[in-house]
Symmetry: C2
Subunit: 643 residues, 2 copies
Amino acid sequence: MMLQRPSADSSGPGFTPLVVVELASDTKEEAIAWLLSRIRDQQHNGGAELLVEQLGPGVEGQEKENPNMFVVGASWQRLLSGAEDVGLFKEFSDGSMRGFTCANKHNFKDFKGDGDDFLSMAECQYIIKHELDTLRAKDETHVPGYTQVKLYPGKSIIRRLQSKGILIQFFPLHEKEELKRLSFSWYKKMKLSFQPLDDIRHYYGEGQALYFGFLEYFTIALVPMALIGVPYYLFDWEDYDKYVVFAVFNLIWCTVILELWKRCSASLAYSWGTLSRKKAFEEPRPGFHGVLGFNPVTGREEPLYPNAKRQLRIYLVSLPFVLLCLYLSLYVMMIYFQMEGWALSVYDEEPTFWTGILLFIPSIIYAVVIEIMNLIYRYAAEFLTEWENHRLESSYQNHLVLKVLVFNFFNCFASLFYIAFVMQDMVLLRQVSLATLLITSQILNQFMEAFLPYWLQRRRNKKMIHKVRKRRTLEDKELPLAEQVRLEAEMSTYLGTFDDYLELFLLFGYVSLFSCVYPLAAVLVVLNNVTEVYSDAFKMCHVFKRPFSDPAANIGVWQLAFEAMSVIAVVTNFALIGMSPQVKAYFPESETQLILWTVAIEHGLLAFKFILTFLIPDVPKHIQIKLAHLEFESLEALKKKVK
Amino acid sequence: MMLQRPSADSSGPGFTPLVVVELASDTKEEAIAWLLSRIRDQQHNGGAELLVEQLGPGVEGQEKENPNMFVVGASWQRLLSGAEDVGLFKEFSDGSMRGFTCANKHNFKDFKGDGDDFLSMAECQYIIKHELDTLRAKDETHVPGYTQVKLYPGKSIIRRLQSKGILIQFFPLHEKEELKRLSFSWYKKMKLSFQPLDDIRHYYGEGQALYFGFLEYFTIALVPMALIGVPYYLFDWEDYDKYVVFAVFNLIWCTVILELWKRCSASLAYSWGTLSRKKAFEEPRPGFHGVLGFNPVTGREEPLYPNAKRQLRIYLVSLPFVLLCLYLSLYVMMIYFQMEGWALSVYDEEPTFWTGILLFIPSIIYAVVIEIMNLIYRYAAEFLTEWENHRLESSYQNHLVLKVLVFNFFNCFASLFYIAFVMQDMVLLRQVSLATLLITSQILNQFMEAFLPYWLQRRRNKKMIHKVRKRRTLEDKELPLAEQVRLEAEMSTYLGTFDDYLELFLLFGYVSLFSCVYPLAAVLVVLNNVTEVYSDAFKMCHVFKRPFSDPAANIGVWQLAFEAMSVIAVVTNFALIGMSPQVKAYFPESETQLILWTVAIEHGLLAFKFILTFLIPDVPKHIQIKLAHLEFESLEALKKKVK
């Protein structure tokens, strides 16, 4: 980490600021004093032993400005011991990845001198987040000044303040220089190249880097599909029955790429040291509430919420709600088909250019409505999952993903399935619905995701620079720290990779389910992904606050979601094959025979798919050997210690 | 462990004999002396630090008798430190299961005084096996006296002697008193009760106990099936189309019982301390050969065999061989159908009692032929898998199980599938084939498995007692140690639970695949299992050498095999449902509609089955909490050590 001290700005603190903590502007003095003392207190007194300072007033010093902004940092020694606490893996002198310990810090490859550029800034920020999160109440019964904000021994102070609204946010600071360099290598140079995944990981952490890695992998994996798709589209446009070969290709493609991704992901995670990193015990999420009791695992006092009650909420409220939403979505779909029918009848009566365009209108409206419904449902799902009161963030995420996935899948693909299998109208499916839905949703997504937030951010940015300009003439373009912090505090908060993965999931669905009917889908998705890389990179660098890095070892629940989609794709593709006139020609007299054969082969292929998944090892051989070697060494070391 | 010193027999060693090592009778003196000194040598000199003594001559002292029999034991201190080496889990004073360490031995629940009855005899024998197995060559280049038996530093001495035929066998001794008590509580008392799983585990180890636990679980799980089956059989005998309800029940049954078994198995393994026990690094199996090189994981010198070569052998030789065998089995099946047709034509010409019996003859012959083919194939599969030269015992086992399972499944069920789905002749399936196949194979199995070995053993036993009687009058019936050892050395070697699980697997197949057609299957299997418990228990106690205990945490690859069978069962049952006249009546005009609906519902159910598998946690909640608690404690301990 090569961080310059923020220029010649006298209002800055006496240490490198890493993380910003923003308290509510009306926070009572005694609470602030107490919090700061707990953060500064030494570790053997139960403090976090971090450095913290209040931020000086902004240039304007307006009344609107929140005075309770604090920057947090730490000494190098503290950060190194924190790295050991969080179980950071670093490259050892023999090239393997090992858990960092202060005791043999000099055996790690990049540890030089005092080790003051051993940790990246993202790692330092992650360590500070961890130390703040695990700063626990001692014998306080409540937060000083707030008798209603109860505490009990062992409760995470930060989480309590957060859930009570006293702590508004805490976020890591951007590094202007690093960011400039990263954004240049990432998206500013115009020639097509691989993404700088290691740099992304260095700046944003492993979770982000894995997302961009997956996006890149998925795009490259789509290229053969796209290449095969173009001639199909160009030469067989009116020949709807040549898609058998394409469907078979599709089938194999979606199984193989997901298996290979697991190996890619394991390689990346190994080289970043997250593959074999042990998960720390998860604390209850900030919003979790319940009756105080003793956690049977840790023996600590913490709120407990009976699992049976949660199950009741899930099965008696959430599940019926999801089903109701699916029904609504079905209803909207039916309205769409009526509109479609009406547009077709208008076109049939008077086939002009304008009525020809009218044919596409229902699909476009439907696509917009789908996006709006997805958005509203998203909020409802978040509310419901919050209300289910999950103890762990991971369990909350899983339930949220499940709810959102089911609805989005249904909302986006139900109409296509209906057209394909109930109406069996391949022309409508191909020309009108698929193309329009896909293109419209892509355009909407790009707009909602990047341009809108960018435009909002730009306005805010300009206002701030304008304000600063008013007060003093800026020789260099750099803002003073106080302004920089306030500017970043007002940036939107990046809400994680959820929406990005969701979008990829739906695109994967379009390609794997229906690209044999509409071969251009892969081409469109490739184009979308290329712009997606740029817009995602751009929004990460310029629109959002820097997120805390997230030491992920894989893409988590999304791997499962993509695999489920690939199973559905096998079934769908086989149904499409069974319906093709080409195949039907083989069984001229008996439709029963045709279906039985299709089903039999489909079962065989599904079985083959599962066997393939089982046979391809999830972790490449050379990494397996390295992991086994480390484990063997630790076993041997244990044996020696015993004797 | 409460072992009396073997009576007043002066030829016994000065310690409790645990394990017998038998060397070839023509082993050179210097090799024996070297081996004994290595076994006795102290640990810091690289020895095993065990006690070993040559067995005195038998009563007759015939020339035929092998003089090179040794009994091995150890001091209590050595056994306790060995228990730590093998990572034994024992009950701690707070009721949790923890890895035993000598340092805090007094905190373990059953540790009293010196701890001389802390370990069971089976555990002691397992420890001795481990210590012998890991007795490694130092700087010897070959076994003294045998220049062709090469050694290199780190090579397991015992395994090399074993693979070169110098070491004939090593096996643990039975405990007469224990065995008497166990066999009484297990199968001698006539009232029906649960098996004494803890006692079985105490005497035979976890692998055996899990097999008997599974056998018991499976039998109990079958009881509802059997109860429903009997009225079906009694009242609907001629009404072949009432099986839809039964098929649906079947479907749910086989999914649920396998999921619940996982939980049962986890509970058992936790209470026996094998659930969270870490696996030690696997040594190459004795038969493994290759060019000397360095193992990339351990860094030790050991034979290496290129994986590519093994893959070639698997895909170019083993796979075609298996396919050929399947083809052969198909051919035999066709001959069976011809015989069946011939018998039917004879019966039709002249329907008497004798020609009525003739109807069953082809099925009986076919069942016998199937058993013989399975047996021959079993040997071929063992030979082939040996030849594939797998490095690890576990990988060898997996490949063997896969080969044997595929063939056995095909051999036993192909004819039934053919009758059900190609000939669609439910009467033949039910009355002739299923019943005859099932009953004949059960009778054959019981005979081959228990009565034949018992009869052989009895003859041997009598001869030995006769011999002893000739020499001296026996007041008490106990044999002197030397005779006892020689008697046990001649008992058959128990080859593991493979064949027992295989038999259960095929029975599970009969029940889950076809019991809706032949509801009595469950009843027959329950009866078979009850006798199986007795005959298995009997053969374990009286026919076989005591096996080394095997610290298994679950039933391993068999869980997977049973789950695969249950998926096949879902598909089969749905096909049977689709073919039933009852269901066909709902779709009088269109067969296509019928098939499409059946397939759609089947897909839905398969999906539901997978979701169910996913939702039911494999480990019961209270054990999850205990495991998490231990892990949390070790993490906290690590943190404290650091600070």
